[in-house]
Subunit: 646 residues, 2 copies
C-alpha cells in the first residue's frame, strides 16, 4: 500500500479539502526530529520541549497565547524606577507522566555592568507567576529566587512577570543578565515522580536497615562487621537513588546555587538594562491617593479593631502600597457614600504618626475626621487637638480631609459645608477634598446636567479645595476640561483632581479586569494630558466579605470585575502574608512613572512639546485614541531619554 | 472610631453606591466561622474548604463555572450502556501553601444493590479529570481508582467526569454508592510539602547514619553497641518523620485501600443507579463509521508502515473505538479527497481479519480498495482475491467500499464509476459508499444547486449504494429530506446516510469544540429523526502533523477547532498510551445510545409515537430547535423506561 509513486491518476483539485489533505505524500518527513518516544530533558534541548518567548508588561498573556520567536528583553530604566516584562512558556511536548506537561526550572542571576556594578537577584530582579483571575491574567505571585520551579500544562501558556527595580543610588550604565529556562526530569519533586515500586523499595530498604542495625546489638564482632557493610551499602543505595540528588538540589535558599545547575540544554533569555541618570523623584509629583478598606482587613484577617494585630495589618498594607508611588488612605464606607478616611491609624501625638506623615514617598495624607462616627463633643475636641498638632508640622501641606464621597443633594452639601466650616475655625488652611460626578439633584445650578456639574465649586467654595471629578463625566470630550478649569480659582489654592471607578468603561482608560494593558496604563497618561494635579481611587482591596485570609476572592456584586481590587491577599496563593499585586497595579505604577518622565521632559522643553511627544509617538491622544500596542511607549521613553540625559 | 451606634446622622440614600457599602455596620458578623488563619483539613470539614456540586454530562464546565447546591447523582442505565455525569470542585479557601489551593482526595467504592450485586470501581465506575483544550473543557484524562488525588487552584473550577458502564449481564435493580471528596493536608506529596529545613534534616540524618555505621567497622564491641543504638534511633526518626506515613499510604494499587482513609470530614456525593432490563444491542442498530488517520498514527507514534508496531498501534485504536459503538475505518487522505479506507489492516486470508470483521460490535466495515495506490495488475488481482474471500463470509453484508470523498466534477464521477464497475464484475452485491454535498460542477443535473444535489443518485446508480450526504446541505430545512429520499430506490438496496464535518456550524448540531453539550448529542437525535440508516465521520485523530507521541495537540488550519479530532493521544496528558476521549466523543456515544432507546420505543409504539416523544419532551424538534438543557433528555429516557420495561 505504500508505493506512492505508482498512483494511477494524481489526485485532482477540489474545493473542500481544507485540512484533510495531510498524509498522502508526507511520509518522508517522518524522521526529521531527534525526539524519541521517551523524552529525557537531561539529553534534549529545552527549546525542543518548550516554546519560550517574551512579551511586554502591557500584554495580557492568556492560556491560549500563541508562541512567537524568542527575543532578548531590553529595558530602559531610570533610577528609583521599576520596569517589567513577561516571559511566556508553552509546552511543545509532554515530558512528564503525571497529568502535567512537565516541570521547568527558572533560574536567574545578577545583572552586571562591565564595571562590575550589579542589579541583584531577589532585590532588583524579581520574578512572579502570572495567575488568571476570572480567566484574565492578573495576579502576580512571587516565585523563589534565584532558582524556582514552574509546572507547565499541556495546551496551556504560562507567563512569568519579570521586574527590575533600580535603586536610587544605582550607577547609570548598561547591565546584562540572563534567565535560564530548563526542562527538568520527571522525578524532580522528591518522591512524586518515582514509580510506585521504586518508592516501596526505598521504604523497604530503610526498614531493613533499621532492623539489621538493631539486630547487631550483642552480636559477635565478626558478624557485626559483616552486617555493617551490608547496612551501609543499603543506606548508600537509598541516598543515591533517583529521588535524593534532586532532593539535595532542592535547596532554594539561594546561597548554594550557582550557574552549574543550568546546562547547555537551557533556553537562555538575555536581559539587557540601560540605567540612566534620571532619578525619579522620591515624592511622587502627582499625589495618587488610594483607599484601603479597613473593614476588609478586619474581617478577612480576623484582627480586632484597635488591637496590636490590627495596627500591624494596617501598617503592612500602608508600607506595601507606598512602593507603588501611591499615597494610601484607610477607609470605611457608609451605606450611602458617607466615608471615614485616614492615612495613619495612630493619633498625631504618637511617634508612629510622624513615621507615616513624614515618609518622603507619601505625597498626600487624609486626616481622620472622627466626628463622622461619633458626634459627641469629645470626638470633636479630639479632632481639634489632632489638627492643631498636625498643622504645626512641615508635612501639614500634604494633608487633606476627605469627608464625603459623591454628594448628591443639598442635604449632602450641607453636611460637607458644616464639617468643613468647623475645621476651618481652627485650621483655616485645611484642604477639603470632595468627589463628585454631578451637581446636587435638588438644586438648579445650570441649564444642563453638565452645567450643574461644572458649577459645583460655586456651592462648595470655600468648603472644598480639592474638586475631584469622575473621568466618566467627560466621555470622549477632552475639550470639556477647560470648562471645569474655568470655574476653579487656583490662586486661592483650588485644585482639580480626577478619579475612575465603575466608569468610564471600555474603551476609555480604566483598571477593570479584561481591559487591555495599555488601557490600564493610559489612565495616568490621561491625567497628565488633562492637567489634573492629583488622582483618587476608592479601593484597592474591596473584595466581597470573607472571614478567612485565604478565602476565595470574590468581586462585589454590581461592580465591574477588578473595580476596587488592585491586589490580592497573599494567603490565597501561598503561605506568604505579603499581598499579591495585580498586573493592573503594576501598570498603574508604570503610568505614574510615565508622568515623571513627561514632567522631566516638559521641565526642559515645555508642556506643549510634551503634549506633542505624546501625540507624535501615538501613546495617548484622547480617551478613545491611545496606543493598543506597547511599542509607542518604549519609543516615547527612549525619546525622553535621548533628549533629557545630561 | 468603632461606636457605630453613635453616628450623628444616618447615611442617606445615594445612587452610585453599588458594592462600596460593605463595611459600615457589619462588624458583628466577624466571628461567624470556625476557620482560623491556619487551616487544617484534618480538623475542618471539607465542605468548608471546597464547593462540590454535580452537573450533567452535557454541561461544559469551564474554569469560572459558578458553584451550585450539591445534590445526589441519579442515573437510569440499560445493560450494555454507559452513562456519565460530572462533579465540579472549586476551592472556597486556600489551605495549601505552595501556589495551589490544595490537594483533594477523591475516593469511590463499588455500587451495591440491596441483594449484594455490585458495579465495581475501576470496571463499571470510572473517573476522569476534565481538561480544557483551547480553553474548552474536553479531554477526559483517567485518574487512579479507587483513590486518587486532584490538585485544585485558587479561583478555578475543576471537573471530574463520572462514568458508569453497566455490563450486559448485570442484574437489573437499584445500585447505590458514594464518591468521597476529602481535602488533604499540605504534606501529602511526599517531600513536596515539607519545610526546607525539615528536608535537609532528613537528608543529613541519613548521611550521618551511613557515616556512623561505616565507622563501626573494626571498633570494639561496646562502642559498636552504643553507636548502633544511636544509628537505629536516627533511622527510626527518619522513618517516622512527616513524609513517610503519607509515603506508605501513597500506594495507589487499590488492594490496600478501604473506607478508613476517608473521614467524617469528607463531602459525600451519593450515586444512585437504576439498572433496567433493556439490553442495548451488541451490534449498533445504526452503523456509525468513523475514520482513523493511519498517517497521523505513523507520524506521531513513529511506527513504520507494515511493521509489528504499526499493526499494534492500529489494533489498539480499532479496539478502543469499538467501545463507543463506532465502526472504525483507517484512512489515508489524498490531496484532493481521493481516499484509501480500510477497517482491517490484515488481508482477508489472515486469521486476524476474522477477529475484526466478525466482532459483533462492528456494524460495518470498509474493504481496502488497494488499486487506488498502485494501478498495476498485481494490485487489481490482490483486490479481487480479497473480495472473493470476503464475499463468502456471513459478515460480507457489513462490508462497503468507500472510494472517493465528495466528488465534484464528472472526472471524479467517472473514476467512481470505473472502480465500482470493476468491483461489481466479481462481487455484484458489493456496496459502494459515496459522500457528497453537491452535484458535479460541470454537468447540468437540475435547475438549482439543490436539484443537482438531489439528482446525484441518477449519475451514480448502480455504482453507489450508500448515498452519504452532508447535513450541511439541509440547513434548517428538515423537509428537504423527503426530496432526497424520493430519489433513492431502497428496493434495490440503496441507503441514505449522512455526515457532518466543517459544516453545519452553530447553532446546528455538530461536534466542534465550544458548541453546547446538547448540540454535540443532538447530531444523533437528528439522524434518527431524519431517518438515515447510517452515519459517517471523516476523522477522529486528525491533529496537525507531529512526530512525537506527547507533542502538543494542534488543530489543522482551516478547520473549526475539534473538527476531525474526537480523542487525544494519552501521552500528552500522562505516561499512559491509552487514547484520551473527548467529552464530545462521550456525547456521541450517548447520542448513539439514545437511538437504541428510541428504536426500542418505536418497536413497541411505532415511529410516530417516537417522534411525538422527542417533540413532547423538547429534546429535538429540528436542527435549530433542540434542548439546551439536560433535563429533557432524562425525562425522555425515563419515559421510555416507564413505557418499555417488561
Amino acid at each position: 500500500m505504500e508505493n506512492a509513486e505508482n498512483i494511477c491518476a494524481p489526485p485532482v483539485e477540489g474545493v473542500a479539502g481544507g485540512g484533510t489533505g495531510y498524509g498522502w505524500n508526507e511520509g518522508s518527513l517522518r524522521s526529521s526530529t531527534s525526539l524519541s518516544k521517551v523524552i529525557d530533558p537531561t539529553v534534549v534541548p529545552t527549546s525542543d520541549l518548550l516554546h519560550v518567548w517574551c512579551l511586554p508588561s502591557t500584554a495580557n498573556v492568556g492560556h491560549q497565547e500563541i508562541p512567537r520567536h524568542l527575543e532578548a528583553i531590553s529595558m530602559l530604566i531610570a533610577r528609583n524606577e521599576r520596569e517589567s516584562a513577561q516571559v511566556a512558556l508553552r509546552p511543545k511536548v509532554t515530558w512528564s507522566g503525571s497529568g502535567i506537561a512537565g516541570v521547568v526550572q527558572v533560574q536567574c542571576n545578577d545583572l552586571c555592568s562591565s564595571s562590575g556594578e550589579r542589579l541583584a537577584v531577589g532585590q532588583s530582579l524579581t520574578l512572579r507567576r502570572v495567575v488568571p483571575i476570572l480567566g484574565v491574567p492578573d495576579a502576580l505571585v512571587p516565585i523563589d529566587l534565584p532558582v524556582s520551579r514552574i509546572t507547565v500544562f499541556p495546551g496551556d501558556t504560562s507567563a512569568l512577570w519579570v521586574s527590575i527595580d533600580v535603586p536610587v543610588d544605582q550607577p547609570p550604565g548598561q547591565y546584562e543578565g540572563n534567565i535560564f529556562i530548563t526542562a527538568l526530569k520527571d522525578d524532580t519533586d522528591g518522591f512524586k515522580g518515582l514509580a510506585k515500586t521504586e518508592k516501596h523499595q526505598i521504604l523497604k530498604d530503610l526498614q531493613t536497615c533499621v532492623e539489621m542495625v538493631e539486630a547487631l546489638d550483642g552480636k559477635p564482632l565478626n558478624e557485626v562487621s559483616e552486617k555493617i557493610k551490608t547496612a551501609s551499602a543499603t543506606l548508600r543505595g537509598v541516598l543515591h537513588s533517583q529521588s535524593f540528588p534532586q532532593f539535595a538540589l532542592d535547596n532554594e535558599s539561594g546561597d548554594m546555587m550557582d550557574e552549574d545547575t543550568r546546562t547547555d540544554l537551557s533556553v537562555r533569555i538575555k536581559l539587557s538594562v540601560t540605567v540612566w541618570d534620571f532619578v525619579l523623584p522620591l515624592t511622587p509629583s502627582l499625589p495618587a491617593v488610594f483607599g484601603i478598606s479597613e473593614t476588609v482587613i478586619e474581617d478577612r484577617f480576623g484582627v480586632e479593631h484597635g488591637s496590636a494585630d490590627w495596627y500591624d495589618a494596617l501598617n503592612m498594607h500602608f508600607k506595601w502600597l507606598l512602593q507603588y508611588r501611591i499615597s494610601p488612605f484607610f477607609c470605611r464606607w457608609g451605606n450611602h457614600m458617607r466615608v471615614l478616611t485616614y492615612t495613619c491609624p495612630w493619633p498625631a501625638d504618637n511617634h508612629k504618626s510622624e513615621e507615616y506623615y513624614s515618609d518622603p514617598r507619601l505625597a498626600a495624607y487624609a486626616v481622620p475626621y472622627t466626628p463622622i462616627l461619633s458626634c459627641d463633643d469629645a470626638a470633636k475636641d479630639a479632632l481639634r487637638k489632632e489638627v492643631e498638632t498636625l498643622k504645626m508640622k512641615p508635612h501639614w501641606k500634604k494633608s487633606y480631609f476627605y469627608l464625603w464621597d459623591e454628594p448628591l443633594n443639598s442635604e449632602h452639601y450641607d453636611a460637607i459645608r458644616s464639617m468643613a466650616s468647623e475645621i476651618r475655625t481652627y485650621a483655616p488652611d485645611a484642604r477639603v477634598l470632595t468627589t463628585y460626578y454631578c451637581g446636587p439633584s435638588d438644586t438648579t445650578l445650570g441649564p444642563s446636567t453638565f452645567e450643574a456639574f461644572v458649577n459645583v465649586p460655586k456651592l462648595l467654595r470655600p468648603h472644598t479645595q480639592i474638586f475631584c471629578t469622575s473621568e466618566w463625566v467627560l466621555g470622549n470630550r477632552e475639550d470639556l476640561v477647560k470648562d471645569i478649569m474655568a470655574e476653579l480659582q487656583p490662586e486661592i489654592g483650588e485644585e482639580w483632581w480626577t478619579y475612575v471607578c465603575m466608569g468610564p468603561s471600555d474603551p476609555h482608560p480604566n483598571w477593570h479586569l479584561g481591559m487591555r494593558g495599555t488601557q490600564h496604563r493610559a489612565v495616568m497618561w490621561r491625567v497628565w494630558k488633562e492637567g489634573g494635579t492629583g488622582f483618587l481611587y476608592w479601593g484597592v482591596n474591596c473584595y466581597e466579605k470573607a472571614v478567612v485570609p485565604s478565602a476565595e476572592i470574590r468581586f462585589r456584586n454590581g461592580l465591574p470585575p477588578g473595580d476596587g481590587v488592585l491586589f490580592y491577599p497573599g494567603e490565597v496563593f501561598s503561605s506568604s502574608h505579603e499581598p499579591v499585586a495585580s498586573a493592573r497595579l503594576e501598570r498603574i505604577l508604570s503610568g505614574l512613572q510615565d508622568i515623571e518622565y513627561l514632567r522631566l521632559f516638559t521641565s526642559r522643553y515645555g508642556r506643549n512639546e510634551g503634549l506633542a511627544l505624546l501625540e507624535k509617538t501615538g501613546v495617548y491622544l484622547g480617551p478613545e485614541r491611545y496606543t493598543l500596542d506597547h511599542m509607542p511607549i518604549d519609543v516615547m521613553r527612549a525619546e525622553i531619554f535621548r533628549l533629557c540625559q545630561s
